[in-house]
Symmetry: C2
Subunit: 398 residues, 2 copies
């Protein structure tokens, strides 16, 4: 049995803000399994490591005995997304939503315990909502209140259009909390407005308001910007073991410690021990090995984790991978030949030399040998490029 | 058969603005009966003379062979009314709406030809509207566009609350035009924004946009402010023949000519003839008699019109009612004794004299004898107060 203090310490791990702490304590004291809500956008079913900050917290709550509800916003997804893209996304069809849900289910089972996870769809209650119900929901809040939301405020004051239906989206998201009788809702700090809307609507419908648990956004491979697909600084849950391992190895030490706190399954005590060992002279690369192996094991399996580590060490010629690789940014635009990138990175004197090295099979990206010497690179991501045995560069493709 | 030019001249009578004239001509040229929409608020079934400006225009179009649809906004009435009252009206129940509809039907049959009038309820299509339909409707317009509406703009800039559902109301009202396939919509000039919304939504749904025919607001008994219940300067359709006759007789000559144009069934040629006769020396009071008699006849019957005229002449002692009565404003607040009003108006020296006159049956309001000497007056309206045979005053009770 975990005490309330122990539970609180687990819940607080990595959390950015909890509203309202006293209510959380009260709910924990009740002793009953709490209903945990986390909503996911059905338009982006390819989860990356950034999403697992939330999933990990869900897992921790699951392990504490609470009822975790993974909500797929299929109903609201048909509205399109007003979350600050400053443009209206095309609404999804029911078929696309269902396809995406299957992908989600497969992906989240790598972090959550599938037997204890309730996958829910807000179409369950959304489809039953009449236009009159929606009008009544809309009557609970004012235009001014809605324009307090950061992205709406920015768009409004800069004369960018906000379609009226976008004002309904936070209300419907809040109504999900009512329908689910959520005790706690998890979300990113950028979701604060919508999370609080859930509290307000629950009060309006005579329920005890949910506790809002906000988690920070995971910094991406660059350690600066939040991890996102469009920035290319991400690790996809579905990437190969080698890709994931190589990408984790490319992050800075500082970012590594943050990732330990936010996405590792290790206890805080374990992490403290690792820090102490690093201070006492342990090679930070070895600490990073542990993290990379843990993440690969989670998304593939334990033997894949070990194997990826061995491959990485073998490919990078144990001990020969420089501690500090040169790091540079290259604009790929619509696409660049790999040979051009090799030359631009200064790993070969000329593109013809780069072609020769490619032909000899001496070029690797994140440890993987390049076979196509005319490979066109257009994705914006961060790679470790290796030419021959000793030349390495960390390249931010933009 | 009426020519298109004749029809246009009838349609233009009293109209403030027509959008778009060319489209109106085109629709008239088609030769088919046009679908005429006019929407009425189900919260106020007690029609007054101001409403008949619209009803008269509907009657004229009906006489031209077009299909007049009297729309009762029962569905939208359940939302409450955002029309500039700057506060949210309590939504109506279905039962209240139905009760009000019966009253409406009874009242409008005094102007419209009941056999040619289609009474419609927007719940017919509103009830079938799902929340998804409403969301899609909301997606057709922006928040900025909605805030262009005068009353929303004023409330927004003066930090008065606008509930989000109020933004849905003009959209639903516009959607009525789509559901009704309206060719022409009639409305007051204060409805311009909502009338244009109908045009926009019809275009969005692939229909030819309706022509918008805006009518001026009828000035009330004071000749200055628009006729309205809350200002008390109105004539209710259900008032007694004597009340209506007396009230019409209280208006100024200038207001009378405007009323002739907007609410008389007389042709423009007839009215021109009356004007000429008045210029040539006909007593303006006699012209007013004709209007008062016409209006009473419409809302009661012809003999009631004649009778009211005779009563009026008898009561006011033919020839003794002054041409220009003193006119004054009196604040009634929560209620004033009739004796106090008589004294304030200077028709008696003291309240005790006023009580004496009341006891003698020598006090009349709009020609009707007052029997209760302790009568408490609280309604804000315009009255002709008579004490004895020669003392008159027109009083604006506020």
């Amino acid at each position: 049995m975990t005490t309330i203090d122990e539970a609180l310490s687990i819940i607080h791990r990595g959390a950015e803000e909890i509203l309202i702490e006293e209510e959380l304590v009260e709910k924990l004291k009740s002793g009953r399994p709490l209903r945990i809500k986390a909503g996911f956008d059905p338009t982006a079913p390819d989860l990356h490591l950034g999403h697992t900050v939330l999933l990990n917290k869900m897992r921790q709550l699951q392990d504490l005995g609470h009822e975790v509800m993974f909500l797929i916003g299929d109903y609201t997804g048909m509205i399109g997304d007003p979350s600050g893209k400053n443009e209206t996304r095309p609404p999804l069809t029911r078929e696309q939503v269902e396809e995406n849900a299957i992908t989600y289910q497969k992906q989240v089972s790598k972090v959550l315990d599938p037997s204890k996870t309730k996958i829910m769809f807000n179409s369950e209650w959304g489809d039953k909502l009449s236009s009159v119900d929606l009008i009544k929901l809309a009557a609970t809040h004012t235009v001014a209140r809605m324009l307090e939301r950061d992205d709406f405020h920015k768009r409004f004051t800069s004369n960018q259009p906000i379609a009226i239906h976008e004002f309904l989206y936070p209300l419907l998201q809040g109504y999900d909390s009512v329908a689910m009788k959520a005790d706690i809702e998890l979300g990113g700090t950028d979701q604060k407005f919508n999370l609080l809307m859930g509290r307000e609507l629950q009060k309006h419908f005579g329920q005890k308001p949910q506790v809002v648990l906000m988690l920070p956004l995971l910094p991406g491979l660059d350690g600066v910007k939040k991890m996102s697909k469009s920035l290319g600084n991400y690790i996809g849950i579905d990437e190969s073991a080698e890709q994931i391992f190589g990408k984790v190895m490319s992050i800075s030490d500082e970012t590594m410690w943050l990732w330990y706190e936010l996405i590792s399954f290790r206890s805080l005590a374990d992490i403290k021990k690792l820090r102490d060992e690093a201070s006492a002279g342990m090679n930070p690369r070895d600490v990073k090995f542990l993290l990379a192996e843990e993440i690969v094991s989670r998304f593939h399996n334990e033997s894949a984790g070990k194997q990826a580590r061995e491959n990485f060490i073998a490919q990078f010629q144990k001990g020969q991978m420089p501690e500090n690789m040169p790091e540079l940014e290259i604009k790929v635009g619509a696409g660049l030949q790999i040979a051009t990138i090799i030359k631009s990175a200064g790993l070969c004197e000329s593109t013809s030399e780069a072609y020769r090295m490619l032909q000899q099979g001496a070029v690797r990206i994140n440890g993987e040998k390049i076979v196509d010497k005319n490979l066109l690179i257009s994705e914006k991501e961060i790679i470790i490029l290796q030419v021959g045995k000793r030349k390495f560069a960390k390249i931010i493709l933009q």
